[in-house]
Symmetry: C2
Subunit: 429 residues, 2 copies
């Protein structure tokens, strides 16, 4: 298919624009990797102050985004993600200050040892490189992602969703002011100043300028990024999380964990989507769980064995085991013991976060070892899948990839390492 000349010209302009941003980011990488903790923190604190001071400006920009969004028939959920108020802007500024308060990961000595020939070897944390963040409607990602990348010494190129352009630009202006006031390089934090979707394609295919892509958004964005990217991607496609109620589970604990894992917030990636329950626990445990969920308005879809216990459970099909509802819907499957449960999770899950509830330590140990997910829990809710809950501070996302960063991606996961070797003239025999 041949593109019309106008589209081709526009694409070339976007490619040239992204190459300029990329070159500036690459040029910023070394000075930013050597920037002091104080300078980075000063930039973040000044940016947070600017966000507070500019609240009205940010809200006016957000009102423009919302007006345009309404004219484009966005869903209520999308409008909610997009909309800011003074409290939300205050939370964005606080988030940036929290990142400033985190320990600086750069320069940490991860391991050190001495060789018999006297060489002293250190593995030292260094920044990862230039990070491209591609996100959708949430304007707060502009500040969250930029703050984490900056703290870890990485230049960042932000590409927000077209529906949040004005809000993101206003927040970005505050970050840029902080970077300038702290005398950090201009290329440290940049935003793509065009809504042209060709910008995303350009970011995915410039390994000379961008080292890692972090996509934040819905399934179609993540799938596109994973399909087209020529650079590594830190992403999770889905959080199809399970709670497994083992026969030896305390019934009240199982109920409370399932209710929390499903209903605390249904739209987060750590929300449970499927309950697996041992056949031996169906009579003793399931009625309490079903009653508690039904009381809270949760739709229940189960297999025949589950449905036999309660008429409120409608029939589930194979597709339900593979679905991330992100809604008040829970799939329920009766399993024949722990092996069956583990097989189900490794087959239908998304390697994100899965929990077993049991008083049997041996069963717990087997589950924790054999479930191949970034986070496995015993007797705790899947909704703890969160960098803040892990004590890692803010996170840029939760990775379900196996390489480099797995689980919550915080400042440490936005670094790599180098080997520093000190000798006294050693040559190799």
């Amino acid at each position: 298919m041949t593109n019309p000349p106008a589209a081709t010209a526009a694409r070339e302009n976007v490619a040239a624009l992204l190459a300029r941003l990329g070159a500036a980011a690459r040029a910023a990488a070394q000075p930013l990797s050597l920037a002091s903790t104080d300078d980075k923190n000063r930039a973040l604190e000044l940016a947070a102050d600017r966000i507070d001071a500019q609240t009205d400006t940010i809200l006016r920009a957000n009102a423009r985004d919302l007006a345009e969004a309404r004219s484009r028939d966005l869903t209520a959920a999308m409008l909610d993600r997009l909309s800011l108020d003074a409290d939300r802007v205050g939370a964005i500024a606080r988030g940036v200050r929290e990142v400033a308060a985190l320990p600086d990961p750069v320069g940490a000595v991860l391991a050190e040892w001495e060789r018999p020939n006297g060489l002293r070897i250190q593995r030292v944390r260094v920044p990862l490189g230039v990070i491209g963040v591609i996100y959708e409607s949430r304007p707060n990602v502009t500040a969250d992602a930029a703050a984490l990348c900056l703290k870890a010494g990485n230049p960042v190129i932000l590409r927000g969703g077209s529906e949040s352009t004005h809000s993101s630009q206003a927040i970005y202006g505050c970050l840029r002011d902080g970077v300038e006031a702290a005398d950090l390089p201009h290329g440290a934090v940049q935003i793509v100043p065009t809504r042209d979707r060709a910008a995303v394609g350009a970011m995915l295919t410039m390994p000379e300028y961008i080292d890692v892509i972090v996509p934040r958004g819905g399934r179609s964005l993540i799938e596109r990024v994973q399909r087209e990217s020529r650079v590594p991607v830190f992403a999770h496609l889905e959080g199809i999380c399970h709670v497994y109620a083992h026969a030896a589970a305390d019934p009240a604990m199982a109920r409370d964990i399932v209710v929390n894992a499903k209903m605390r917030r249904t739209g987060v990636c750590g929300a449970a989507e499927t309950l697996l329950i041992d056949r031996a626990a169906v009579r003793s445990h399931l009625p309490g769980i079903v009653a508690a969920l039904a009381d809270r308005g949760c739709e229940l879809r189960g297999d025949d064995a589950a449905r036999a216990t309660d008429s409120r459970i409608v029939a589930a099909n194979d597709e339900d085991w593979r679905t991330e509802y992100l809604d008040a819907i829970l799939a329920i499957r009766v399993v024949d013991g722990i092996g069956d449960a583990i097989d189900h999770i490794n087959t239908y899950g998304s390697h994100h976060t899965d929990s077993i509830v049991t008083a049997d330590e041996r069963a717990a140990a087997r589950f924790l070892a054999e479930v191949d997910s970034a986070i496995v829990l015993h007797n705790a809710s899947t909704q703890f899948a969160d960098g803040g809950e892990f004590g890692m501070g803010a996170e840029i996302g939760i990775s379900t990839g196996r390489l480099h960063a797995r689980g919550p991606v915080g400042v440490e996961q936005l670094t790599t390492y180098k080997y520093v070797v000190r000798g006294t003239g050693q040559v190799r025999p």
Copy 2:
């Protein structure tokens, strides 16, 4: 371009073959990740015993490869890499035993902490997944790579060069015997049983079966893999390594390190390719270095300032600063101080291994911080760039990528981690 029908049919057959190998490897991943250290070591020791016992068979297979290679006009260097003798076969068996003797990385607790709510969080090492190793003529890679992958709990699919087919198959047979005798899954170690080059393309594009590709070979192989792969690649494209003789270097130490870094073995990736020398050190240090290298038959290519000191130095051009000679040739550039040296390395180098020779600790600290390479050394030869020399045991290669594995890739670098969280019924507020 349309492929002829026969080629298309062959490609489909190769794709189906690789999909079968991939499915067997994927099926082996969980059992192998849970295999005991004893079982993995038993498989490796039995394989090493078989390699010793089958030396004659392996040498006959190698003789077939060599006969075919001679009829295809391979270079002397390629024939040398391909050829085995009883000593080399013995070294292959010893290498497998050395991997068996390494600590098992799987299950190690990398970090653990407790949260205020009582959740106990551990970061635990787990295998990386299915690894595809694509290599060229060295048949020993068959055993080295398979042993490292197996020890780290990863199924491996080996694809050796067509010129070493018979040798690699013979060595693979010994590994398979070890795997079977230790009752490990059949898919733990597999070799691609076809010379069809379409097999490489298939391996690079099956992320459902292969998690990481490790290419071992020349520039054209690595470039092809990096260009076409849809899965992460652990590779170094080139080792353009530098020694920087700082003005405060001890002259004898600088000479000995340069000579070793260049001449100990010229064909390894850690061999130095460029000497950078401070203008202030040219008169005092360069004549001794040049004399020592010229005595050993090293060709010298320098800039005008270097050439003014010795007529044996021929003119270098810009291309020399970017060339991995892998031969007895050294490029020499005179620099104006440490900033100039660091700029040269970060511009022309390959982010592999670089060394400063100096008695000035502040200069050393700056060099170690600002040179953006996987390995940076002070007062030691670049030829120490080696997993064995680092005390990491055997290595599958040295990575110049920034993500996941950087520097020598040993058994630990062939793992990832998961978070194991233990609670007592915690739900998230």
